[in-house]
């Protein structure tokens, strides 16, 4: 989009290099996951024998039509509800599986919610310091200091004492991502974080997210129904079938990181778009025909 603003992301890293000490945690393996809502047989089958891997230190983007079961899968990873069968591992630790179908929620897997879930009654900095203070990892003073640093880094200086309701939705998303990162999660789970934003704000958010990713190298699990967004951000793109969701196609996007918006006009990007558009469109059509609505 705007090459000069994109270069900000790169300039944070000398020579555009990716940090060598990049954390290699946060690998998630989803094995044969099944999720029924309601009784098996009569209920809704949302996830059907779903198997794929989210590599550590990379961005994996899950694309699928609305209502296909993406959030359902994410909730199982986060531990907000149980699987019906199958298992999920985080760095070879079983989160849920036979005998323990519901994972415990924890600060190693933080969700950035579809419509945002900053606590409206807490100021931005109170939101951001919430995690470390709840976990007792940092004192209040330490948490505030770290929060101020991270906010400054993310271009969020000056809104520390505002309430989330007083800032724009784009800025709210950034605050929420900073709140998530304050927990030093192994993996960030982002559920269509930018769906409500206009395309201009969206492009700024994408660059900001990549910048954060290059700095922190935290594993990212990103849900969207926007194919362009998926290919632009992802190392790996998992295209889901319409409900019940199951990977239809898994692509490794070999466009080198760090990326900026000039990627969108490259031949390689168009090739990926062309290769996947048909598959995504086919599933979207099926979903439309089935009258899927999102929750």
């Amino acid at each position: 989009m705007n090459p000069t603003s994109a270069s900000v992301a790169v300039s944070a890293l000398p020579g555009g290099a990716i940090p060598a000490q990049a954390a290699r945690t946060g690998k998630v393996r989803i094995i044969d996951a099944v999720k029924y809502y309601g009784a098996a047989g009569t209920g809704v089958l949302a996830v059907d024998h779903c198997t794929f891997e989210v590599p550590a230190g990379e961005i994996t983007v899950v694309v699928g039509p609305s209502g296909c079961g993406k959030t359902t899968l994410l909730n199982a990873i986060a531990g907000f509800h149980s699987l019906s069968s199958g298992s999920i591992y985080l760095d070879d630790e079983m989160l849920c599986g036979p005998g323990k179908l519901k994972a415990e929620p924890g600060p190693d897997r933080i969700v950035v919610f579809q419509n945002g879930a900053l606590f409206p009654w807490k100021t931005n900095i109170e939101n951001i310091t919430f995690g470390p203070m709840m976990q007792g990892r940092l004192t209040r003073a330490e948490a505030y200091e770290k929060a101020r640093d991270m906010m400054a880094d993310a271009g969020l200086r000056g809104i520390e004492n505002n309430y989330p309701g007083e800032i724009s939705s784009g800025v709210r998303r950034r605050v929420e991502i900073v709140r998530a990162l304050m927990n030093d999660p192994k993996i960030l789970l982002l559920d269509e974080p930018y769906r409500a934003l206009d395309s201009l704000t969206k492009s700024v958010m994408h660059e900001a997210l990549l910048e954060i990713f290059y700095k922190n190298r935290v594993t990212i699990f990103f849900i969207t129904h926007d194919l362009e967004e998926a290919i632009f951000l992802g190392h790996r793109v998992v295209i889901m079938t319409t409900r019940p969701c199951r990977p239809k196609k898994i692509l490794d996007i070999d466009i080198p990181h760090p990326r900026d918006y000039s990627v969108l006009t490259t031949k390689r990007f168009r090739e990926f778009m062309d290769e996947t558009a048909a598959a995504v469109h086919e599933e979207a059509t099926k979903a439309f025909a089935a009258g899927e609505k999102e929750r």
């Binding site: 986060a78 531990g79 907000f80 929620p105 924890g106 600060p107 897997r109 933080i110 969700v111 919610f113 419509n115 879930a117 606590f119 409206p120 009654w121 807490k122 919430f130 995690g131 709840m134 976990q135 309430y163 989330p164 309701g165 007083e166 927990n183």
Partner: protein
């Protein structure tokens, strides 16, 4: 300092605004109509229907001027305020925890909500005779009925508010390591606070309506005998004025109650705004 400046600015822009002047004109026209109507018999020789029975605003104003110098009027106002405060505070102290408990515990909700829903449609005033029988003093009976006026509204608002808290807030708090107690204190309480404020503001209005009627029905309570002729609360005061045939005093009493109700709601709204700063706009 900023708050004061903001208030002054807001007041100025309100006073210079169109709505303000429209309101002023409407009130003046209303008062003129009332005055003309009340004096229609002497001015035009024809009594306008209905309004001619009502004392004129100027007469009421004179009466109010007299009343504010009358200690027994203030005693009545004091008694009603006291009963409203007692009943309202009791409703808050019992209603808020009860509502929260009902919202938080499915079991408790299952047990208590049906009983609550059976009692809720009974108008507070229908309780007056029973209250007089059950409670040892008139004073307690009136306070109890007043309590009921605010209680159901507060509980319903608390339950509704707590149940409407977005599940994502709980999920986010859990992920970030909150204990159950943390979730109660940092999510449920602040999340319910706006509804508590609404319940309280509506509740205190009902409280005033109820206290006045309860005082009329019960004859002003036991305190009536202490405070002299006009003792026993504003409701009793109006009733007494009616019995004594002082129509200006009736209207003056009505207006005092209106002002008291408005004032207490306004105070609660202010306290509410102060407690929920995140809802302030701008």
């Amino acid at each position: 300092m900023n708050a004061i400046k903001g208030f002054v600015l807001k007041t100025i822009s309100f006073v210079t605004g169109e709505d303000f002047w429209r309101g002023i004109v409407a009130i003046i026209v209303f008062l003129l109509f009332w005055e003309t109507g009340s004096r229609s018999q002497s001015w035009f020789g024809v009594a306008f229907p209905w309004v001619s029975q009502v004392p004129a605003p100027t007469a009421v104003l004179q009466e109010m001027y007299r009343l504010i110098q009358d200690p027994s009027f203030w005693h009545s106002a004091y008694l009603s305020t006291l009963r409203v405060t007692e009943g309202f505070l009791a409703a808050m102290v019992i209603g808020i925890p009860l509502g929260l408990a009902m919202a938080v515990s499915k079991t408790f909700y299952g047990i208590s909500f049906p009983v609550f829903e059976v009692l809720r449609p009974i108008p507070p005033l229908a309780w007056v005779p029973a209250a007089i029988i059950f409670w040892p003093t008139q004073e307690l009976s009136i306070a109890f009925v007043t309590f009921l006026g605010a209680f159901f509204t507060i509980v319903i608002n608390v339950i509704g508010g707590a149940q409407a808290i977005d599940v994502r807030y709980f999920q986010a708090a859990r992920s970030m390591g909150s204990s159950t107690w943390d979730i109660f204190r940092r999510i449920i309480l602040p999340g319910t606070l706006p509804s508590i404020v609404v319940g309280a503001t509506v509740g205190i209005g009902i409280t005033w309506a109820v206290v006045v009627a309860a005082e009329m029905i019960s004859g002003g309570g036991s305190a009536g005998s202490v405070g002299g002729a006009a003792g026993g609360g504003l409701g009793f005061f109006i009733w007494n004025s009616y019995v004594g045939g002082s129509y200006t005093q009736i209207v003056a009493g009505m207006i005092s109650i209106g002002m008291a109700g408005y004032l207490s709601s306004a105070i609660l709204r202010k306290i509410g705004e102060w407690m929920t700063p995140w809802l302030a706009e701008g």
